[in-house]
Structure formats: C-alpha cells, structure tokens
C-alpha cells in the first residue's frame, strides 16, 4: 500500500512537471526562447490559485487564476524584452524568476513570507473518500495534462507554430516575410507561461503547502533537464523527460537503505546523477530521447512515404 501511494505520488509529480515541461518546450523547443526563469510562472500560478481559493473561490476558479496569472506575468516580462537577442533575454528571465521568489518571500501580508501557506484546500475533499483521494487527484491532473498536451500540439502544427519555428532560428527571414516577430514572441512566452502557471496551481492544491523554498531556481533547471533529455521540439519528449527526471530525482529515497552514505549526501548526489544523465544524452543522443519530428507533406503523384 505504501509503495502504491508512492507510485501514485510519483505519477502525479510527473504529470505536474510534465505540464511545466510542455510549457518550457513551447518556449525553447518550438519558439527558441531561452527561458531561465520558468519557475517564476510556476510560483505565480501556485500563489494565485492558493490565494484565490483561500478567499473562497472554488478549485476550478483557482486553477484558472493560476493559468491567467502565469500568462500575465509572461506577457509583462516579454513586453520590454521582446527585442532582446537570445543571451540577454535569457539573463532577463533568470532575473525575473528570482524577483518573483523574493517577492513571495518578502511580501508577508500576501504570502506569509518564509513560513509559507499551509492548509491549501483540495477539490472535493469532503466527497471523495480519503483512501482513493490520491487517485482522484491524479486523474484530475491527467485531465489537465491531456488538455495542455492537446493545445500545444494544435498550436505547434498550426501556421502560428510554423512562424515560431522560423523565429526559433533567426529573426530576419520571418521579418522579411511580413511576420511581426516581436508579437509572436510575446504570444509564445505568454502561452508557455500560462501552462507553467497552471502547473503551479495543481502543485499547490496537491501538496497543500507552499513556501518560497518550493520555487528555487533549481526547479527551472530540472525542467530544462526534462526538455533536453526528452528531446526539444517534441511534446511527447517533454513528457518522457519529465518521467525520467522525476524518477531519478526520487530514486535516492530508496538508495539510502542500500548504500552507506548519509541521506544528506545522497540528496545532493541526485543533482550529480541528473547532470551526468544530461551529459550522456547530449553526447550520444543530442536530439534527446524522442527526436523532433519532421513535418512531411504528401505530394500528389509521389509515393506517400517519401522522405523520413
């Protein structure tokens, strides 16, 4: 039973991180935005949903607030930065991530600062029996994951996604083709940020306690590892990456029974393991575990499986 509960916990975390990774993959894999502040959207979403539900709103409204606040923050960050080139932009997002965490830490009237907010409500807690509640919540998260996956796939395959793909490499050509590159970039950042915000809301209601410590820059880098190991530019890859990283991240829990190293050291070692994993993937499968798929059009009068 305990193992079962742990597995359900793992899959729930995989799904929440999966949504986060889909958001970052939308930024980096599809639009070429090197976003080092992904945790900011996650954080804002978590606090937004928490505060809104604490004020009496139902779960769905909270989650919607998480989504919108993520998108809004993305929009705000991209407004002044949309014309910056890749590296400068990356530094800005890194800064933005820290700013949001520091606000959460210091604006105690709103966020209760370092103490964090305990006792965050869970949807239908009184109706669903406690024994199966984790499964119920998992299904809930699955539904959101499914919706986000569907939306990203739709966007990526649309003409909108095609323009992002061009911007991913370089600005000048899409500009010369009449695309307002800056506006596309703002939209892309907001959309991925909305997903991250949603993930934040789902996280808050799952763990039922959030504090600024949950939103350290390390979260961003875990999500980056997911996108890179899974395969940038492929949504399925992001989910695979989320699975791999969440498993590795939690694996040390069990290792402490078999390896005579202190729990603290083991906890630190897991980042080393993830680092090694990333190096191995980049060396031997530099496209990630699931490669980006080429969009192949059927050409009349040609064999349908031309090209691969």
């Amino acid at each position: 039973m305990e193992l079962m509960n742990f597995l359900i916990y793992l899959v729930t975390m995989m799904s929440i991180y999966g949504i986060l990774a889909l958001g970052l993959n939308f930024h980096y894999g599809h639009a070429g935005l090197v976003n080092f502040g992904h945790v900011a959207f996650f954080c804002v979403g978590a606090y937004a949903s928490t505060l809104v539900t604490m004020a009496g709103a139902p779960f769905l409204v909270g989650v919607l607030a998480a989504l919108i606040s993520g998108a809004l923050l993305g929009f705000l960050i991209s407004l002044p930065t949309s014309k910056l080139s890749v590296h400068y932009w990356a530094i800005c997002t890194l800064g933005a991530g820290e700013i949001i965490r520091l606000i959460a830490l210091n604006e105690e009237w709103l966020t209760q600062g370092a103490f964090g907010i305990p006792g965050i409500s869970q949807p239908l807690k009184s109706i669903v029996p406690a024994v199966i509640y984790p499964v119920f919540y998992l299904i809930l998260v699955f539904i959101f994951l499914g919706i986000v996956y569907l939306l990203t796939e739709l966007l990526v395959r649309s003409p909108f996604g095609r323009v992002l793909k061009a911007i991913r490499e370089e600005d000048n050509l899409p500009l010369a083709m009449g695309k307002n590159v800056f506006r596309f970039r703002i939209k892309a950042l907001s959309i991925g940020a909305a997903f991250a915000g949603l993930a934040g809301g789902l996280y808050a209601h799952y763990i039922t306690y959030i504090s600024p410590l949950d939103f350290m820059p390390i979260v961003t880098f875990l999500v980056w590892a997911m996108v890179i190991i899974g395969g940038k530019g492929n949504n399925l890859g992001s989910l695979v990456g989320a699975m791999v990283i969440v498993i590795f991240y939690n694996s040390t829990r069990f290792l402490k029974d078999y390896i005579p190293i202190s729990a603290d050291t083991l906890a630190s070692l897991r980042m080393v393991v993830i680092g090694i994993l990333m190096i191995l993937v980049l060396l031997f499968m530099n496209q990630g575990l699931v490669r980006e798929k080429k969009r192949v059009y059927r050409i009349p009068g040609e064999k349908p499986d031309a090209g691969s």
Partner: protein, 268 residues
C-alpha cells in the same frame, strides 16, 4: 513603384549612403551595381526597413515607408532576399514556402485553436501553389527536405521561390547569383525574366555578375561610396567612364608627360 529620395545613412563615421536617389518603374528589372562597400546592401536594408535611414524619403506605391518596420513593409508588397541564405535550416523546403504567405488564418492563436476547417482549406490551396512554384524552380523533389540540407545554389532557388509565393509586387534580390555555377545562373535569369513577364513582378537586383545585369536588366544604377554615380541602360553603363573608374580605380593621368608637353610649348 519605388522611389528613393536623397537617403543618407551612416554607421559611426562611415557614410554608407550619402544622398542616394533612384526610381524603380513598375514591371521593370532594375540592377544596382557598385564596388564592394559602396552601400548596395545598406540601401536594400534601408528600403526594406531593417535599418532606419538618417534622412531622406522612400516611397513605395506612392506611400511613404521609411518609418515602417520590416514586417509592415513586407505586408505592403515589398519583399527581399538576403545575400546569405537565412532559410530556417530545421524547416523543410515546403515549410519555408508556407512561411511566405501573407494573411494566413492560422497565424493567430485563437484561430489556430478553433478554425481548423478554414485553416486546412487555406493550407491545401497554399500547398498547391507552393508545389507549382517549386516545380518551376526545380526544387519539387526536395519538398520535404530540410532547408539546411540544400546546396548553396538550391538555397538561392528557394529564396526566389519563396518570393514568388509571397506574391509581392516589388522584389529586392541581394546577389541572387553569387556563388552559383553558370548553368544555374542561366536558369535563375530565365526564372526572374519569367516572373517579370508572366506574373508582372518588378525586380530590383544587386548583382556583381555583369552578364546577368546586361541580359535581364532594363535599367542600371551605379553606386560608389554611398553615392549614385551613374544610371542608364546596361550597355551604356558598361562604357561609362565614371563607372569604369569606380571599378578599376582612378585612371592615373600621366602628369610627367603633360608637364613635358607644357614645357615644350613654353620653350618654343
């Protein structure tokens, strides 16, 4: 179609454009030549909105465009290519072609999510047109190939093909035949001529290959150090002394001989 009036542009102390004025008539092919560093590409960048001019005016179809960003100029029907291919390497030839269409329904987020029917209808029409052009330019067999895998010559053909689906009225080509073998150059010239005649397009071309210039251009402008130094039909330009001077360097006047002649007349 296009009128450039007294345009200046400098980078720090370098005057890249020093009062350039020129005109491109509707339906013509106009060449722009000049030695390296004479400001040809800078002029293209200023016209297409990639650089802002310091002063001067640019009119396109009667409308002043010198303050517009590049994407707005493109949307008004003025497209350009780049000297070095900028085709997104991780997009296929067909995806590259699709990029060039203006007014695509699915480029907005909401319509991308909800108007699939209309999008797929538009995509089908666009695909057909793209394939027709690719057939013409000989890239059809590479339709599903990543643009990054194309050869240099094919990249140039792709740029031209993209211009054709963009359906612009005026097309600026920046060295369309640079680094291309002679057979392909002939092919490209034929295509440009074809699009001018059949599709009624206007071209403005930066080119170093004089054969291309003399065979397809109706009118040629010559730039040197950011200034117009000559204009006219290709045959006339090739004989123009100022142009030869710009290309071959200053013709040294034999001063000693002159002096000697002067001395002789003095002495007698």
């Amino acid at each position: 179609m296009l009128a450039v009036k007294n345009v200046y542009k400098s980078f720090g102390g370098i005057k890249a454009l020093n009062g350039v004025s020129l005109k491109v008539e509707t339906g013509s092919i106009v060449g722009l030549i000049g030695p390296n560093g004479s400001g040809k590409t800078t002029l293209f960048n200023v016209i297409s909105g990639f650089y802002s001019r310091d002063s001067g005016e640019i009119y396109f179809k009667g409308e002043r465009i010198d303050d517009f960003p590049p994407y707005e100029i493109a949307m008004r029907g003025l497209s350009r290519t780049f000297q070095i291919s900028k085709a997104p390497r991780r997009m296929t030839v067909l995806e590259n072609m699709f990029l060039a269409y203006k007014e695509q329904i699915g480029e907005g987020v909401l319509s991308a999510l909800f108007r699939w029917g209309q999008i797929s209808k538009q995509e089908r029409v666009n695909l057909e047109k793209a394939l027709t052009i690719l057939e013409l330019t000989g890239l059809k067999n590479s339709s599903n190939e990543y643009a990054g895998n194309l050869s240099g010559g094919q990249q140039k053909l792709l740029s031209l093909s993209r211009m054709m689906v963009a359906d612009s009225d005026l097309i600026l080509l920046d060295e369309p035949t640079a680094g291309i073998n002679l057979t392909l150059v002939a092919e490209l010239m034929k295509l440009i001529k074809h699009f001018q005649v059949k599709e009624n397009k206007t071209f403005f071309i930066v080119e170093h290959n004089m054969r291309v210039i003399s065979e397809i251009c109706d009118m040629v402008y010559v730039l040197d150090s950011g200034k117009n130094i000559a204009k006219g039909e290709p045959e006339k330009i090739q004989k123009d002394e100022k142009v030869l001077k710009a290309y071959l360097g200053t013709v040294k006047e034999d001063s000693r001989e002159k002096k000697a002649m002067l001395n002789e007349t003095d002495g007698s």
